[in-house]
Symmetry: C2
Subunit: 212 residues, 2 copies
């Protein structure tokens, strides 16, 4: 298809497509004449992935480039491609002093992950993220322990069993990464809002307020 058709098929305006081509995020089409290039389904998929990373993942172009480099790197196995996407969309851990409190929270995190038997890279930024939350809970007088965190770990593990089955691993890598990013970000929002909805409902029952 020509660039105008690619634009129609993907919903991405032509100037934006040209920008992605210049930035190297989208591979060049097959040049069929000096002024004309031919694009295919892989370009449509790539544009879908870029859009998901940009609009749903809210990633800057530099991070999108990293994720796409991972998708394109045939020497990288799927686990590490998914990991690249996962780490890119993770919130940045706030600045913190590397003091005793931090080290205790970080140790608690590592112990917890080991106790769960989860296979997590020792350098995963998610470890710091969890340590940060444990630190905040402690400082708010609600200390987190393996005991208090277990319901969250169990809920997460149960959901992931379900979610992992919805990712299309049998197709092109791009589609799997797109589903992972959209699923992680948006279903994360779904879970968060469901939890606040369930709170409201539980409170209404507890205090006998029935709004109907």
């Amino acid at each position: 298809m020509r660039i105008s058709q690619l634009s129609a098929a993907s919903g991405v305006p032509i100037p934006t497509i040209k920008y992605y081509l210049r930035e190297g995020l989208l591979p060049a089409g097959e040049q069929t004449s000096a002024t004309r290039a031919e694009y295919g389904e892989s370009h449509v998929r790539r544009l879908r992935l870029i859009r998901a990373l940009l609009e749903v993942g809210r990633l800057p172009i530099a991070s999108i480039r990293q994720v796409i480099a991972a998708v394109d790197d045939e020497d990288m196995d799927m686990h590490h491609v998914l990991g690249t996407a996962h780490y890119a969309i993770a919130p940045t851990v706030e600045a913190h002093a590397e003091d005793d409190d931090w080290r205790r929270a970080r140790d608690e995190t590592d112990r917890l992950i080991a106790g769960l038997g989860w296979l997590i890279d020792p350098e995963a930024p998610t470890r710091d993220e969890l340590a940060q939350a444990i630190l905040t809970l402690g400082r708010s007088g609600m200390p987190a322990t393996g005991e208090t965190l277990r319901p969250y770990a169990e809920a997460a593990a149960r959901l992931v069993d379900y979610e992992i089955g919805t990712i299309p691993f049998d197709g092109p890598r791009e589609s799997a990464v797109e589903a992972l990013v959209v699923g992680t970000v948006v279903n994360g929002r779904v879970l968060d809002v469901m939890r606040r909805l369930a709170h409201e409902s539980a409170s209404a029952r507890l205090f006998g307020v029935f709004e109907d």
Copy 2:
């Protein structure tokens, strides 16, 4: 206690305490002389709540004022006090066209909540939040239905059964609201990062990558 002791007991600097007094967020102490006021435990609790709303909930002063007005309003029942705090810490729903897609997502949300038997205010902003997520999923080619959303609703309900039991409803309202805010925000972060950790582990198993 005097203002210096209140500062020591709460960890809040004296100029900040004076600012909260001027803003009406902290009630005045009992004036014992022209230049001296006496503060009590309720002031320490109030400062804890303000800190939780400010540092954990990241609320602007105007929203903190609303939550505190609810806590102070003896005519407002506890369910509505908690609701005021909950709605204040909810993320703002992004701007969206009030078009057919939006109305469909909003109807789907209301149907889902009714189907779950949850008691949710018809005007709850969380309804719009969920509709927004449903809209994004649909636009990303991952349409959400009662079926695909049920695992999230079930996980949320199970967690809330646990969480509601950790809120101290038998003490002052301030402490309950503080626990609700910290618990909702920080345990929300815990749940989100646990989910991404569980994903990494599930992917490591699926693709046979064992990092140890």
